[in-house]
């Protein structure tokens, strides 16, 4: 997806100022649960990681997946099942969810990378809908009821996740680890090749890169990290339901990324925070969330395609042009 103004954000050098901002942000997240309801913060963190994982594919590889709910919701089901039915520890349950999402990503990616552009989007959407129907029928997902009452358990056998602060710092650690992994992938030689595929697929092929393999690898990584977000969410909220595998969920993560800024590191985090906050506000107001979501979508596409963070970065003086 050729999005103007992305290269600046992705080639930024890590200056002292940025390290300082990062330190402030992490400090803010560490003290946040003393001021804001922790469950709300954890919801934001899970969705922010989900959006960052999605952005790895859309923003840095140029592939628009309309089926990421499969990995988010699928991982939630696997984790909930492992923890509740098999009685596994939360960390083992999350690993099951992440591994399951990786396998699902491998299968969906294998089919989807055979086509490009809008066909890629339609194939991922169709396969995700197929997974949704599978979840409706499969016995282990509990159908319409989902898997309820998943125990949070004890992390590593001695840290009780029933303590609000314990689970908050656990989710924060997962979130930071996930975002760090994405940052490492994007700023690695592998990430540069992904970006070259986004900018000019034909040229990447002519340079000798097996583009299909790189796309599939990026797809699986994105699916795996989306799975990490979904698995963690299942532990936090103690349930896994059909909501997380619907096409609406796939659309929501696109909205978060688009609103925050496609192809920026913190854009999806900002987008997720705004969308989750908006949903919480609207839930009590009676105004239908779908209408608001749709309107923001249309406004983003028509007016600010770079997203909030992308627009801000585009207005900053260019640090690289000295």
């Amino acid at each position: 997806m050729a999005v103007a103004g992305l290269s600046r954000a992705s080639t930024e050098s890590t200056s002292t100022l940025q390290w300082a901002l990062l330190a402030v942000a992490i400090a803010g997240l560490l003290v946040a649960p003393f001021f804001v309801y922790p469950v709300f913060l954890m919801k934001i963190l899970c969705f922010a990681l989900f959006a960052c994982a999605f952005n790895l594919l859309l923003g840095y590889t140029g592939l628009l997946s309309f089926g990421h709910a499969t990995f988010f919701g699928g991982a939630a089901y696997f984790t909930a099942h492992a923890v509740k039915v098999w009685d596994w520890a939360p960390e083992a349950g999350i690993l099951v969810g992440v591994a399951g999402a990786a396998v699902l990503g491998l299968v969906m990616g294998f089919f989807a990378i055979r086509r490009q552009g809008i066909y890629f989007a339609m194939i991922t959407l169709a396969l995700a809908q197929m997974f949704y129907f599978f979840c409706v029928q499969a016995p282990f997902t509990g159908g319409e009821d989902g898997i309820q009452g998943v125990p949070r358990g004890e992390l590593l056998g001695f840290i009780s996740l029933n303590q609000p602060l314990n689970i908050y710092y656990f989710v924060l650690a997962v979130f930071l680890a996930g975002v760090f992994a994405i940052w490492r992938i994007v700023h690695s030689p592998f990430g540069m090749i992904l970006r070259s595929i986004r900018e000019n697929e034909g040229r990447a092929i002519s340079l000798g890169y097996s583009v299909a393999n790189y796309k599939l690898a990026a797809f699986v990584m994105s699916a795996t990290l989306a799975g990490l977000a979904g698995a963690t969410k299942a532990i936090v909220f103690q349930f896994a339901t059909l909501t997380d595998v619907t096409w609406q969920m796939s659309g929501e993560v696109i909205l978060m990324t688009l609103l925050g800024g496609i192809g920026t590191m913190i854009g999806p985090i900002v987008g997720a925070t705004l969308v989750v906050t908006l949903q919480n506000t609207l839930a009590t107001s009676g105004f239908p969330v779908t209408i608001a979501t749709g309107l923001i979508f249309m406004a983003c596409v028509l007016v600010f395609r770079r997203g909030i963070v992308g627009e801000i970065l585009a207005r900053l003086p260019d640090r690289n042009s000295k």
């Binding site: 989007a121 194939i123 239908p288 779908t290 749709g294 979508f297």
Partner: protein
């Protein structure tokens, strides 16, 4: 009782008819998608919502103004098509120079808004819409019972699909459309108003979705959710058929509807996923789609 593959023939033919009905709607909707995509290079995610809008327009025309089925059959496509023209002029025409994915995202947002509005005012439960007296009841064909309205839907959709195909292949307007699809700037240089053609194409495509919606209203219940679930299946149909050919889109729609009907007879659990499985198989064997030219 006569049996086919160990199934009573009545049940077999009944499911086949259901498959043919579903196929009629797949064909009409993928036809509209293919026409819009051919000219505008945009995948119209709102196509399902426009189909739902068509059904609701018919329902509301009857409830508010007492306008019956037959006039609605003319009015509804005009209303939905007119709305499409308005949307194309106001918004979609600004997206032509961008990556086609933005068109998909914009129309996705549009679909959410349309669906949200009707869900807000009418809830998720379906509203019944009775078929007109002329088409109610059924006919006993000896080997099976045929509800007349369902037979009418199959015939009407065949007429609509063939008519649209002929209009594109055989009329002067159709030849402008095809030429503008191939090379818009050259056609514009010949003095044809290409932006107007684009607007009309989106209007016609939306109108077709609206027509499918009013045809569907007596078969399925009129509900805000009827469109989007359907459009995802139609996307799979479009991936299977490839959007390079109008006729390909129509034929694929009917075939996949029938395939779904067959599956319902022999392995009902898989009937909701069979089209997606076929899509995956086609991607393995022929990634460009059965009738597709582009890789």
């Amino acid at each position: 009782m006569t049996m086919v593959f160990g199934i009573p023939i009545q049940a077999f033919l009944g499911q086949l008819l259901v498959g043919l009905i579903n196929g009629s709607f797949y064909a009409m909707l993928s036809l509209g998608l293919a026409i819009i995509f051919g000219m505008l290079r945009i995948i119209n995610f709102a196509h399902g919502a426009q189909y739902m809008l068509g059904a609701f327009a018919g329902y509301l025309l009857l409830a508010w103004a007492g306008v019956g089925y037959w006039p609605a059959l003319i009015l509804v496509p005009l209303i939905v098509g007119g709305l499409g023209i308005l949307i194309e002029r106001l918004a979609i025409s600004r997206l032509y120079n961008l990556d086609p994915l933005y068109g998909l995202l914009f129309t996705f947002g549009l679909a959410l808004v349309l669906e949200g509005i009707f869900r807000y005012y009418y809830g998720v439960s379906g509203k019944p819409y009775a078929p007109p007296p002329l088409l109610s009841g059924g006919a006993n064909l000896g080997f099976m019972f045929l509800p007349i309205y369902r037979g009418w839907v199959v015939i009407a959709s065949l007429v609509v699909c063939l008519g649209t195909w002929l209009a594109i292949e055989k009329t002067k307007f159709g030849s402008y459309l095809r030429a503008a699809t191939e090379n818009p700037s050259l056609v514009q240089a010949f003095g044809v108003n290409v932006p107007l053609l684009l607007t009309l194409t989106y209007g016609i495509g939306s109108g077709l979705a609206g027509l499918a919606g009013i045809l569907a209203a007596p078969v399925y219940q009129v509900s805000p959710l009827m469109g989007t679930d359907l459009i995802i299946i139609v996307f799979a149909v479009v991936v299977v058929g490839g959007m390079g050919s109008i006729l390909g889109a129509i034929v694929t729609g009917y075939i996949l509807g029938l395939a779904e009907g067959f599956t319902k007879v022999f392995y009902p659990e898989a009937s909701s996923t069979v089209i997606f499985v076929i899509m995956a198989l086609v991607l393995l064997v022929r990634p460009a789609g059965l009738f597709g030219k582009d890789a």
